[in-house]
Every structure is written in C-alpha cells, then in structure tokens.
C-alpha cells in the first residue's frame, strides 16, 4: 500500500472493516475472477453502505453524516431531547402517518378514476373486488386522520413548551403552513369518492370559500367586488360541484399539496438543526431539576468538557450562529445512531400499528352515489372541520373564513410578540405561572363556549329573541350586517380576546397572555367540534346523542 494513503483515515476507519479481497504479503489484493465472484456480496455491501457495524463514537457519527437520509440528524442528540415527554413523538408521528398515507395513496391511484361517471364505481371496486383494496383504503383514511391529530397535538406541544420562541419563530410559521396543507390534503381527499358525503361536504366547503359574498351582498357591492365568487370559481372551475371540481380536487390531492407538504417538511426538519436542535433549558437547570441521568452508564458524557489549553484560536470568527458547538464538549448527549433513530422508529412503528388496527376494526365510509338533488341530512364535513361548521351555522363568512383566518394570523404573530428566548423546552413555561394560567384559561374558555352555545341553542340568535315584546318586528328581521358582526362566533372571539388582554394587564407578560388565548381557542375548538360531531343531527337540530335522531 502506498505509505501516503496510510496516513489519511478513510471514512470507514472506525467501522468494522469487511474483508474485500485476498490479502497478499505486499498488502495488495489479488484480482481473480473467482475471488471477485466469491466476494460479490460483501463487496456490494461495502460499496453501498461503506461500513459495517459502528463500534466507536466516531463510527456512529460517521453512520449519520455519511448517509443522505440520516444526516438531517446531528451526530449526537441531547439526552433531554430523547425523553418521551419532551416531544411525545408527535412530529415524527405526523411524518410517519404521511408516509403511510403516501404509500397507500399511490396504491389507490392504480384503480381510482377521477371522473364523475366512474369515480364512485372505482372506489366500490377498490372496496369489494381489488385484493386488499378495502384494507389499503382503510389505511389511507385512518393514516390521514392520525396525521391531522398528530399535527394538531404537535402544534399544541410546541406552543406549551415555548418552543416557538426565538430563534425558532420561522419554523413555527413553516409548521402552521404544514398544518394548513395537511388540512387541505384531507379536505380535497374527501371529495374523491364522489358519494353523498363527499358531494355535500364539497358543496358546503366551496360555498364557505365563496362566503365573502355574504358580506359584499349585505354591503351591496358584489357586482363590483366579488372575492367570494373568485375563490369559489378558482376552487371548482365552475358554478357547481361537477367534473371540473373533481379534476381540480384530484390534482390538488395527488400532486400539488403532497409536493408542497414534502418541500415544507424538508425546510421544517432542516430548520430544527439550524436552530440548534430541539428547544431545551440549560444543562445546569436540567441538572438542578434532576432531569438528566446521573454520570455513569446511562450518561457517559456527563462530565463537563474542558477545551484543550493549547488551542488558542476559535472557529467562532469563521462560523457564526449556533450550529457548530465550537469549544463545547459532547456533555449529556448520546449518539444519534442508534439512540435517536431507535426512538423515531419506535414512534413510526406505533403509528403503523395503530393505523393497521383501526383499519381492521373500522371501514372507511362510502355512502350512496352523489345526488345533487337531495342533500345528505345532516351533511357533515370531516370531524376536524365540524367546529368550524358549528360556527358556520350562525354566519358563513364570520365562522367559516374571517375568524379562522384571524386565529391563524394570531398564531403566526405569537413568536413575534413574545420576544423572550428563555425559558423554552419545558411544559407550561414560565413555571409556575404558565400552568396556573393554563388551568384557569381552560376553565374560562370551556365555560364561555358552553354558555354561548347553550344560549344560542336554547333561544336562537337575535331572530326569535323578541317574541311577544315590542321589539319583535325588528328582531325578527334584523339587518344582515348585524348578524355578520354579532353572532356566537364573534362574541366568543371577543370574550376570549378580552380574557387574554385581562391576563396581559395583570401579568404584563405576552407569553402568559398568549397561553390564555391559545388555551381558550383550544377549549373552544374541542367543545365546538364535540357539539358539531355528536350533538348535531338532521336539520342541524340539537340532540344529546346520535341515538336520539329521528328515524327517516
């Protein structure tokens, strides 16, 4: 062997070497056809994976950064980031369920035909005659539901641990975009079976997109300025839900939105590393609270690293930012290979197991073929939109478009109003005030939404309030603008905002005010979704349980 080559450590130096040939006394390998054939598999493995089993810390690091798919990880992961309740694995669960949905989605595309004449029949084929078709379709449906739940809970986790704080505010925005694309994927997928459920959910959804007309009609300017009509036409490609709408929804569902999702996911994961990994308190604080394993087998890197005294230069001048941990040892970290990857695979396998179990237990629904003349009664959107649908049943524009828009805007603004960086990475920071505000806001938020819903369900809204009084003629026919701006949705939003501002006045902390508002919105979302899912029956009447619905 060339003596110069011996000095250069190869990428596989710390990895178990495969024997790649017949060693000769002079260090060369004899090239023979039979030898090459005999070692075909080890040589192929060496060429592909470039390494055997990693035995040293350096070898484990090489495993991660010499691999395109693994190198989104840093080579070492902090022990606090590996604790279950730091993340509850929710981001990985959302990504894993997307993978399940993508694979099953491609399989469904083999048989699905996006035409109004054939779509329903092709879904029926998939359900009844295609081998494993029903199971694959169920997997697609359940993984989509789990993706929505995981993404929502992931946002809740990031908010309550304060992990959106500087320098992670941009990734919080990417996360919101990912949530929006996830919901868009679910909604566009809802239309594709072209059954009654699909048709009427798409009709209602596209009319919500067109609901700015409610306001422009009330103002009398629709002829000149019609954003609602524009949005609706863009979505449907026509004035009705038909073939152009199916084509557009299909295109969005299988091409545009998945590509957007994958791109945004790439940025999201990359930013986690660029922002210094998962948010966490300082090691000193973690040690004081006993959240790090004691030095020993469980934490071999607990001792604090002393920079070598001979090195007088630093990389700090060359590389700014928080990426390279210059002058810092690997305290309290574990090699990402295998620790972080093992944790991630455990979450992914759990998601897959849950999807498969649910798919075996419950079939994805398929109603009668779409009939534009008879609406499904009740016509319900997917469950995560039923909270919005409950608000829509008072004012389409306010409940369906403006208020959800304001909520998204408010969420996007949080990291730009809450400019502190510390503390972050622990639940309900700053402790103990965060938890107290959370519990109180949960109670206040729930009471407010239940109270307003009870009032609106019991007495109706404005129309009907003045029965038997002098106000009756006016209240029975109120101006539409009054209903648009004063309805349960706007009143609830105003009360939540007032509660949040009151918390701010008392504590002078934008973080605590944000916790108050976020918790209230969360309570409102859960209660309204519950009412829309369970308590609303035919004609959108209130029932205590679906068992009380009248028989048709």
């Amino acid at each position: 062997m060339n003596p110069q080559q011996q000095d250069i450590p190869s990428v596989g130096a710390d990895l178990e070497q495969e024997t790649t040939g017949v060693p000769q006394p002079d260090g060369r390998e004899e090239e023979t056809l039979t030898g090459g054939l005999r070692r075909l598999w080890p040589n192929f493995r060496q060429a592909t994976f470039r390494s055997g089993r990693a035995r040293t810390g350096r070898g484990r690091a090489l495993k991660v950064f010499a691999n395109l798919f693994l190198h989104i990880h840093s080579t070492r992961t902090h022990l606090y980031s590996l604790r279950f309740w730091t993340t509850a694995g929710l981001g990985i669960a959302a990504a894993a369920s997307f993978v399940v949905a993508a694979v099953t989605g491609v399989l469904l595309m083999i048989y699905y035909t996006p035409s109004t004449a054939l779509a329903y029949q092709s879904i029926k084929d998939i359900h009844y005659t295609v081998p494993t078709g029903r199971f694959i379709r169920n997997l697609h449906r359940w993984s989509a539901h789990i993706m929505v739940i995981a993404a929502l809970l992931h946002a809740v986790r990031v908010f309550f641990t304060g992990a959106y704080r500087r320098p992670r505010e941009f990734n919080w925005l990417i996360g919101l975009a990912l949530l929006a694309v996830t919901l868009g994927l679910s909604f566009t997928g809802y239309l594709l079976p072209w059954d009654q459920l699909a048709y009427w959910a798409a009709t209602i959804g596209s009319n919500i997109a067109g609901s700015p007309r409610e306001l422009t009609d009330a103002l009398g300017v629709t002829q000149h300025f019609d954003p609602g009509g524009f949005l609706r036409h863009l979505l449907l490609g026509a004035d009705y839900v038909g073939q152009p709408a199916l084509t557009r929804f299909y295109l969005l569902h299988v091409m545009v939105l998945p590509l957007a999702l994958v791109g945004l996911m790439g940025i999201h994961f990359w930013r986690i590393r660029k922002d210094g990994g998962l948010a966490r308190p300082s090691d000193a604080q973690l040690r004081a609270e006993g959240l790090l394993p004691h030095p020993g087998r469980a934490n071999p890197t607990a001792t604090v690293f002393e920079p070598g005294p001979k090195k007088t230069y630093g990389l700090m001048a060359l590389v700014r930012g928080r990426t390279p941990p210059v002058g810092k040892g690997p305290e309290n970290t574990a090699p990402s290979w295998p620790r972080a990857l093992r944790a991630e695979m455990a979450v992914a396998m759990t998601v897959l197991a849950i999807c498969m179990l649910l798919s075996l237990l419950a079939d994805a629904p398929l109603k009668e073929i779409a009939n534009p003349q008879i609406p499904e009664n009740p016509a319900k959107a997917p469950w995560y939109f039923l909270g919005v649908q409950e608000l829509v049943s008072y004012s389409a524009f306010m409940g369906g478009l403006l208020l959800p828009g304001l909520v998204v805007l408010g969420l996007a603004l949080i990291p730009f109003l809450d400019r502190k960086t510390e503390p972050a990475g622990r639940w309900f920071v700053p402790r103990p005030h965060g938890r107290r505000v959370f519990v109180r806001s949960l109670i206040v938020g729930t009471l407010l939404v239940v109270g307003i819903e009870a009032l609106a369900i019991r007495l109706g809204w404005i129309r009907g309030w003045g029965r038997g009084t002098a106000m009756e003629p006016w209240l029975a026919n109120p101006p539409q603008l009054l209903i648009i701006f004063v309805n349960p949705a706007t009143v609830l939003a105003a009360l939540y905002a007032a509660w949040s501002l009151w918390i701010y006045r008392r504590t002078r902390s934008t973080r605590l005010a944000a916790i108050a508002l976020f918790t209230c919105i969360l309570a409102g979302f859960v209660v309204l979704t519950w009412i829309g899912t369970v308590n609303r029956g035919p004609n959108w009447h209130f029932y205590w349980s679906p068992g009380d619905w009248p028989a048709h």
Partner: protein, 167 residues
C-alpha cells in the same frame, strides 16, 4: 466617471477597471429585469386556473306547456334542476331551491321552505325567517317559448313576488 473619482484613482495609483457606479447600475438592472420577467410569468401562469367561460348546462330550462302546472297553493319541485314552480291565482313564479347559506337543497314544508344542513327557514315567498341564511331564495324570470313551453331563466333574477302570466 466623475472627475473626483478619476482624481482618487490617480492619487492611489490604481486604475479602477470598471466604474463601481456602472457596475452597480448593470447589476441592479439585471436584478429588476429578472424579477419583472418572473413576476409577469407568474401572473400569466396564475391566470390559467380561473375559467374564462363557466362550463355547465344552459341556464334556460324548458318545462312543457303551462297546463302541466295546475293552480295550487303548494309549489312543485322540479327534479332536473333545483327549483320550485309556484302557480296560484296570481300567476307563475320560479323560486330557487338552493339555500343561500351554503348551497344545500331546501324542502317545501307547507308553510315555506327548510334547509336540512344548518337549519335555515324561509317563508312561502322565500324570505328568511330563521338564520343562518343571509339572503332570500332568489326568484327567476319566466317566459313562454314560441313552441308554447314554459322557460325558466335561471341566470336572471327578478324581485321577490314577481309573477308571470303565462298562457
């Protein structure tokens, strides 16, 4: 190149091969030409998804001779299109059956119309009696075609209460 700059170059003894001002101007021009081109391209691409002509069936619907609709206080539901034909002593009227809230199909209840989706109620003339619908059910223009059939023009709205004397 300004005289001052020439002087500076002469004093330091170094000739500046390209005038910084000119280089700056060229790179700015290149930047804005690129931005402008890409913006125009994006506008052109974004123009396409919005249909120029709305696809769909003819807005005019023929319903046979007026004799098909005897005088009755109850509106007749037309299955092919989502509308009601009302023929009473005052004449003919065509009322939309599409709820103005979110597009579900209303049903006649005897004393008006009810929407199954979000509980909107309309009076016999299509006026809102209970929300969330924000506007009344539209009434459409009707006419008699030369072949003696009733025609409903579902793209032409008329004020609520307008009656047509056909046949």
């Amino acid at each position: 190149m300004s005289e001052q700059k020439q002087g500076d170059a002469a004093e330091t003894g170094r000739a500046c091969p390209i005038d910084p001002d000119r280089r700056d101007f060229l790179s700015r021009t290149a930047f804005w030409v690129t931005t402008g081109t890409l913006t125009f391209a994006a506008i052109g691409v974004a123009r396409m998804p919005k249909p120029g002509v709305m696809p769909g069936r003819s807005a005019d619907l023929k319903l046979g001779p007026p004799g098909n609709f005897p005088v009755s206080p109850d509106p007749v539901r037309i299955g092919a299109r989502n509308l009601f034909i009302l023929h009473d002593e005052n004449g003919f009227a065509a009322i939309s059956a599409v709820c103005t809230h979110l597009g579900c199909i209303v049903a006649a209840t005897g004393d008006g119309f009810a929407c199954p989706c979000h509980g909107s109620r309309f009076g016999p003339d299509g006026r809102v009696t209970q929300g969330p619908a924000g506007s009344p059910l539209p009434w459409f223009r009707m006419s008699l075609a030369p072949d003696g059939q009733i025609v409903v023009h579902t793209d032409k709205m008329v004020p609520t209460g307008t009656r047509f004397q056909l046949g």
